[in-house]
C-alpha cells in the first residue's frame, strides 16, 4: 500500500514542486495544506503516513505548533521544511518530535527533499 504524504506549505509554487516530488517517488498525496488550521484538519481527516511541514505558516500557529497539535492525536513522522539555516533555531520550543522526523533547509534541491521523505517513509516501515 502506497504511503500517503501530507504537504503543508503556504507558498503555491514551492508546494507544487513538493507535490510532484512526492508523486515522482511513488507515494500518494494525502493533501496540500496552506495554513495551520488546514494542516491540523487535514491531518485529522486524512491520517497521512508522513507530513512535510513548513515551519513558517499562515495562521496563528507556526509549523512546530501545528505539529504539536497533530501529535496529540496521531504519532506521525514529520519532515520539517524551513528557511532558517539553524536546526536548533528551527526546532526550538516545546516540541517532542517522533522517531523519523526529518529536516530540510530552503532553498533545497529536489534530491534533498526526496532523500528526507524516503528516509521518513523507511523509518515508518521499520516500526
Amino acid at each position: 500500500m502506497k504511503k500517503r504524504i501530507l504537504v503543508v506549505e503556504d507558498e503555491p509554487i514551492t508546494a507544487m514542486e513538493a507535490e510532484l516530488i512526492v508523486c515522482d517517488l511513488g507515494y500518494e498525496l494525502a493533501g496540500v495544506a496552506a495554513s495551520d488550521e488546514d494542516a491540523v484538519r487535514q491531518a485529522r481527516d486524512e491520517r497521512p503516513d508522513v507530513i512535510l511541514m513548513d515551519i513558517s505558516l499562515n495562521g496563528k500557529m507556526d509549523g512546530r505548533e501545528a505539529t504539536a497539535e497533530i501529535l496529540k492525536f496521531q504519532n506521525v513522522p514529520v519532515v520539517f521544511v524551513t528557511a532558517y539555516g539553524d536546526k536548533r533555531e528551527s526546532l526550538s520550543g516545546n516540541l517532542t518530535v517522533p522517531k523519523g522526523f526529518g529536516y530540510v533547509v530552503k532553498p533545497y534541491t529536489s534530491e534533498e527533499l526526496q532523500n528526507e521523505i524516503q528516509r521518513s517513509c523507511l523509518t515508518l516501515s521499520e516500526r
Binding site: 507558498e11 509554487i13 514551492t14 507544487m16 514542486e17 510532484l20 513558517s56 528557511a83 532558517y84 539555516g85 539553524d86 533547509v105 530552503k106 532553498p107 533545497y108 534541491t109 529536489s110
Partner: protein, 296 residues
C-alpha cells in the same frame, strides 16, 4: 626724743607711706592691665573660633549640599542610562526580529525561484535546455549559501573565507558530481581571511564558476583527477584565488577575453568592478588565478 627728731620720724613715715601707696598703685595697675589683656585675648580667641566655626560650618553645609545634589544627579543619570539601555535592547530585539523575517523571506523566495527552475526543467525534453536550467538553479543556491553565511556571521556584514568556501565546494560537488564513480579529489587551502559582503559575493560566484568548469570540462570520460583551490593573501593587501586542475587543459587557441561561455564572461564582469585581474594558464591542466584588492 626731741621734737625735731619726732618731726623727722614723722616725715620719714609719711614718705614711707607715700612710697608704699605708690607701689600699691603700680601693682594694681599692672594687675588690671594683665586682666584686660587676658579678657581681650579671650574675646579675640572666642571671636576667631566663632568666625572659624561659621566659615567651616558654611563650607560643610555647602559641601553636604553639593554631595547630595551630585548624588541626585547620579541617580537621575543612572535612571536615564537604564532607560536608554532598555530602549536599545528593545530596538535591537526589533531589528533582530526584522532581520530574521527578512532572512526568512529571502530564503523562501530563493526557494520559489529554484522551484520554478525545477518545474520548468520537468517540461523540457532538450538536454541542453535542462542543463542550462539546472545551472541556473545551482547559481541561485550559491546566493542562498552566501545569504546564509552572512546571516550566521557575528556582525552580519563579513564572512570568514574558510567555512564559506568549504560550504560552497560541498554544494558544487554535490550538485555536479552525480556519479560516485567520478574519482575527483579536492585540495582546499585557505588563509585566515575575512570578506566583506561584496567580496564574498564576488569570490563565491567566481569560485563556483571555476570549480563547476573543472568538474564539467577538465575530466572527460569520467577520468580521475585532482582540483586544487587556494586562497591566499599576497603582496600585503591583495587576495589571490587560484583554481587549478590536472585535467585536459584548454588548448593553445583558447582566448579568455573572447570566450563565449557564460561562466567566463561572468568572471570577467565580476572581477573588473573590484579592480581585479584574471590570469589563465591552460597549458598543463588549467589554472585560473584571480587577484583582487582585499579592501575597497
Amino acid at each position: 626724743m626731741t621734737d625735731r627728731g619726732k618731726r623727722v620720724m614723722d616725715d620719714i613715715r609719711a614718705e614711707e607711706h607715700q612710697l608704699l601707696a605708690a607701689r600699691q598703685g603700680e601693682s594694681d595697675s599692672a594687675t588690671r592691665s594683665a586682666s584686660l589683656v587676658i579678657a581681650l585675648g579671650s574675646a579675640a580667641a572666642l571671636a576667631l573660633m566663632t568666625l572659624i566655626s561659621i566659615f567651616v560650618g558654611r563650607d560643610t553645609n555647602r559641601y553636604v549640599k553639593q554631595v547630595r545634589e551630585g548624588g541626585e544627579r547620579l541617580v537621575r543619570s543612572n535612571q536615564e542610562l537604564t532607560e536608554a539601555v532598555k530602549a536599545l535592547d528593545s530596538s535591537n530585539r526589533e531589528k533582530e526580529v526584522l532581520l530574521q523575517e527578512v532572512h526568512h523571506r529571502v530564503k523562501n523566495k530563493l526557494q520559489v525561484i529554484t522551484s520554478m527552475f525545477s518545474l520548468q526543467t520537468r517540461l523540457e525534453t532538450d538536454s541542453h535546455t535542462v542543463d542550462v536550467l539546472n545551472e541556473g538553479q545551482r547559481r541561485v543556491r550559491v546566493m542562498a549559501r552566501l545569504h546564509e553565511a552572512l546571516y550566521q556571521s557575528d556582525d552580519l556584514s563579513s564572512i570568514e573565507a574558510s567555512p564559506y568556501l568549504e560550504g560552497l565546494l560541498a554544494d558544487t560537488e554535490a550538485s555536479i558530481m552525480v556519479s560516485p564513480s567520478e574519482r575527483i579529489t579536492f585540495d582546499l587551502d585557505v588563509d585566515d581571511i575575512t570578506f566583506d559582503a561584496r567580496r564574498a559575493t564576488t569570490i563565491g560566484q567566481i569560485f563556483r564558476e571555476l570549480v563547476s568548469n573543472c568538474l564539467k570540462h577538465a575530466f572527460p570520460d569520467r577520468q580521475p583527477g585532482k582540483i586544487e583551490i587556494t586562497l591566499h593573501r599576497v603582496n600585503g593587501d591583495e587576495i589571490e584565488l587560484v583554481v587549478s586542475d590536472d585535467g585536459r587543459g584548454l588548448g593553445e587557441d583558447f582566448d579568455f577575453q573572447n570566450t563565449g561561455t557564460l561562466g567566463m564572461r561572468m568572471i570577467n564582469a565580476l572581477v573588473a568592478p573590484l579592480g581585479g585581474v584574471v590570469n589563465i594558464d591552460g597549458s598543463d591542466g588549467t589554472a585560473v588565478q584571480v587577484t583582487l584588492p582585499e579592501n575597497s
